[in-house]
């Protein structure tokens, strides 16, 4: 899926940096891959932005390395709306 837009995020995603997150997502205008491999913390702030992105562009795949982050995504049912992989290569 070489034609997908790609965004790489890192560190903690919370209220204090949500505006830069929004800016990054705003530049995406089609199906995308959001790489969360280096994200150490994620809560509903980022979940809301992911939901908005997904609604806008239709298809979003997430690369998730941390089991903690994965668990959060699963609790809110994102595993059904997003394709979640542990490694980028899995997307082909």
């Amino acid at each position: 899926m070489e034609s997908l837009a790609s965004v790489r995020l890192a560190g903690e995603l919370d209220l204090s940096n949500v505006s830069s997150l929004r800016a990054k997502f705003a530049s995406i205008d089609g199906p995308a891959v959001v790489d969360l491999s280096d994200v150490t913390y994620l809560d509903s702030t980022a979940l809301n932005e992911l939901a908005l992105l997904r609604r806008r562009v239709g298809t979003v795949a997430l690369v998730v390395a941390s089991p903690n982050v994965r668990r959060t995504l699963e609790i809110v049912g994102f595993s059904t709306s997003f394709r979640i992989v542990t490694k980028r290569e899995e997307l082909g």
Partner: protein
């Protein structure tokens, strides 16, 4: 009829000084007297001919006379009529003619007897009178006893532009102000019915539609029997006098408002309301804001629609330096704009949108007066009218200036009081302990709030100090008195308590020592006090009171509350010799919370029972114990933002507090970065899902930021084997949504679901002063801290 001089009737008819004639039943003339013939110059023969007589009646009166005579003959009733009769000198004079029928025994009319009285002189003086009445500078009217207005003088007609109708008189509703018409008519009707004088102040409508105040008076003219037959009234213009009285009343009302309101914002609002009732249609008070821009402090308007236009307009287009409001302020000179011209509006307009709004508003008359005192500018008072038929005038400007002067005085006073209050608060605060002890497991918090200066200056205190590693003394009190002396005495008492306690004395002896010291040092002042000594090893507290309200206690877990009652000794400084105050004791369980306070907290409504009830109610809430500052929490819960006239001091002690983590900030956003510190602390003391605990932390902070922006308090504390995270905010509560949003890709609504999913248990409790969320974190206590 004969002319026999011996005939009595003939003598009378010839002797009386008026015309007499007799007419037969068929209408022919039987007799005239000499007076008639002398006046008219007719011969006896001529006088007996009807056509001669008629020819002598003034042409303009002939029809009326003939009609009346004919009507009389037809109805066989007497009648009278006024007419002009030509004399021998060819001059016409006014006569009052009367004719009455004579009946025979059978009742048939046999003759008519007529008389004519010269009333010309009377009418002339009547004319003269009329001329006087017409031109007199009063408004004059005459009405019949049934109220019908017969006559209005020229001035009345010219002023009102209305003429009385001969049949219907005057419709008072047309010429009086709508608010005055009914009461005036009722008063007049009363006077007519009871035959009394009439006096009333009303607004009379001028021909151009403007109203002016008049004082109307009417008196009855009575006949010989005392019955009123006509009412003569006059009205004087009292517009100027009334305006002065109204202006005076307005200023008196404003002065009363200023004297009774303590809070300057409430004063400005009330005076503005007054101005809008009496003087203007809108009143705007401008004050410079923090950044130098002019802000609306108060806006009052008779028309809500207008207010909705003006407020956002002024927010978007605040007055510039060249606009009249600012110019008035800088020059410290009031300005009257009687008629706002298009050019003026254009000069103020900052863009087309602004101009359109100004045109739509259609302000027609403006007064701006500066608010300033002692060389300092506070702002400006702006009054506006929108009815172009009622512009402001010079008298209104004077009134506005006087009003602005009163307001300026109030604002100056408020500012002075505020800086004095802050000074007193600083002084008090510096006289209070700078540090509160924090032995292990014990958390002491306190707040002090100064009242406005002038009511009860200074004098309240709180204190807490250790006299050994396991003994702690707490005290609160209130010096009764005013002035700097009170503050100094407060210090004396506080240190007296410390001194006595450090010498090992118990609460009763401590109070006794202070009573003695007070009598010796400041005999004219007295004070109340509550002293408690806490023994940490024994988990007990012993306490005594000198005229002071009891402390309150919150029990752990159940949250039940009670007062630490003890029979109080009299206030310090008044004890009779040999007074020994009672001392009570209470056990203190781990997790208890004690609150001591001064009566400023409970007596703000002069109902100490209600005040105590409010304290206990607030204490019962777990939020009081979880709060990072229970003293502040209690103050806020009980006073609920009220400004009080007395100082308030509150000190709380939480006993047996477990090791925990706290954080507080005036802005919840500041708690977000604290998550890192929380996580690190957690890792040191707990095992388990630390990551999820930090997510719970983050979600709860986010919740406050989104729904109740403002202060936040956070406390993580062990309760048994549970680690509970408490989050307190000042919001109005929210309904926690424990389900995911129906729309899976909704942009919010997940936060609380996550908290619920990750916590062992979560509760939300909303109260009047905020929301308390407690989440049991998914962690367990480490065996020993790392």
């Amino acid at each position: 009829m004969t002319t026999d001089p011996t005939d009595l009737a003939a003598t009378i008819a010839e002797g009386v000084p008026y015309h007499v004639w007799v007419v037969r039943a068929d209408g022919s003339i039987e007799y005239n007297n000499q007076q008639f013939r002398d006046y008219t110059g007719l011969s006896e023969e001529q006088a007996l001919a009807n056509e001669h007589r008629v020819a002598l009646v003034h042409p303009d009166d002939r029809d009326a006379v003939t009609a009346r005579w004919n009507a009389a003959f037809a109805t066989k009733e007497p009648c009278e009529v006024e007419f002009r009769l030509r004399g021998r000198d060819d001059r016409y004079r006014w006569f009052l003619g009367r004719i009455a029928p004579l009946h025979d025994a059978a009742g048939a009319v046999t003759r008519w007897v007529g008389t004519g009285v010269d009333i010309d002189g009377l009418r002339e003086s009547a004319e003269w009178m009329r001329g006087f009445v017409e031109t007199a500078p009063q408004l004059i009217w005459v009405s019949r006893p049934d109220g019908l207005v017969e006559f209005w003088n020229r001035r009345m007609i010219d002023f009102t532009g209305v003429t009385p109708d001969p049949q219907t008189g005057i419709d008072w509703a047309r010429v009086l102000h709508p608010d005055d018409a009914s009461p005036a008519r009722d008063a007049y009707a009363y006077a007519l019915a009871h035959g009394t004088s009439f006096e009333f102040q009303y607004r009379l409508r001028r021909h151009d539609g403007a109203y002016r105040w008049y004082l109307a008076r009417a008196e009855p003219m009575r006949d010989a029997g005392g019955t009123p037959i006509r009412w003569f009234g006059s009205a004087t213009d009292i517009e100027e006098r009334k305006r002065s009285e109204d202006a005076m009343a307005l200023l008196l009302d404003a002065t009363a408002i200023i004297a009774s309101e303590r809070e300057i914002d409430a004063t400005l609002a009330a005076v503005s309301e007054l101005a809008v009732r009496e003087l203007a249609e809108t009143c705007t008070i401008y004050r410079p804001g923090a950044d130098g821009r002019m802000e609306i402090s108060v806006l009052g308007s008779r028309d809500a629609e207008r207010e909705r236009t003006i407020r956002p307009m002024l927010r978007r287009y605040p007055p510039r330096a060249t606009d009249p409001v600012r110019v008035v302020m800088t020059r410290d000179e009031a300005r009257l704009i009687e008629h706002v011209a298009d050019a003026e509006r254009a000069a103020i307009a900052q863009d087309e949108g602004h101009l359109a709004l100004l045109d739509r508003l259609g302000t027609s008359s403006v007064i701006i007066a500066p608010l300033s005192a002692r060389g300092q500018a506070f702002g400006a008072l702006h009054l506006a009218r929108y009815d172009s038929s009622r512009p402001f005038d010079a008298q209104d400007l004077r009134t506005a200036q006087l009003l602005a002067g009163r307001l300026s005085g109030a604002m100056d006073g408020a500012q002075t009081r505020e800086s004095e209050r802050r000074l007193a608060e600083t002084f008090q605060a510096s006289a209070l302990p700078s540090r509160l002890p924090a032995p292990p497991g014990i958390e002491i918090k306190a707040i002090y709030q100064a009242a406005e200066v002038g009511v009860n200056v200074g004098g309240d205190w709180y204190d807490a100090f250790e006299i050994s590693p396991w003994r702690l003394v707490l005290s609160v009190g209130d010096v009764i008195g005013k002035g700097v002396n009170a503050a100094a005495t407060m210090s004396l008492i506080r240190h007296g308590i410390r001194f006595a306690a450090q010498r090992g004395q118990e609460p009763a002896e401590i109070l006794k020592a202070v009573d003695a010291a007070l009598k010796a040092e400041n005999p004219d002042l007295t004070a109340t006090a509550f002293v408690a000594i806490m023994d940490i090893r024994e988990s007990r507290i012993r306490y005594a009171s000198a005229g002071h309200p009891p402390a309150a206690l919150r029990l752990p877990l159940s949250g039940r509350t009670r007062l630490l009652n003890v029979e109080p000794a009299p206030p310090l400084g008044t004890w009779p010799a040999n007074t020994l105050p009672r001392v009570e004791a209470a056990p203190l369980a781990y997790g208890s919370l004690i609150a001591m306070y001064t009566d400023g907290l409970t007596e703000f409504d002069r109902d100490p029972i209600e005040g105590e009830r409010l304290i206990l109610e607030a204490l019962r809430d777990e939020a009081a114990y979880a709060s990072t500052n229970p003293a502040r929490y209690l103050r806020d819960a009980v006073l609920a933002g009220r400004r009080v006239h007395d100082d308030v001091a509150v000190i709380t002690l939480a006993f047996g507090r477990r090791e925990g983590w706290t954080f507080e900030a005036p802005d919840a956003m500041e708690a977000e970065p604290a998550r890192g510190a929380f996580g690190r602390w957690l890792e040191n003391v707990a095992d388990g899902d630390v990551y999820s605990a930090t997510v719970i932390f983050g979600e709860l902070v986010g919740n406050v930021v989104r729904h109740a922006p403002g202060p936040i308090e956070m406390r993580a504390e062990w309760q048994g084997s549970d680690l509970v995270l408490h989050v307190l905010d000042r919001g109005r509560g929210f309904a926690p949504s424990l389900h995911l949003p129906e729309d899976g890709m909704s942009e919010n609504g997940r936060g609380f679901f996550i908290v619920d999913a990750l916590s062992r248990r979560v509760n939300v409790n909303a109260s009047r002063q905020g929301t308390h969320v407690r989440a049991v974190l998914p962690v367990t206590r480490k065996a020993r801290a790392a």
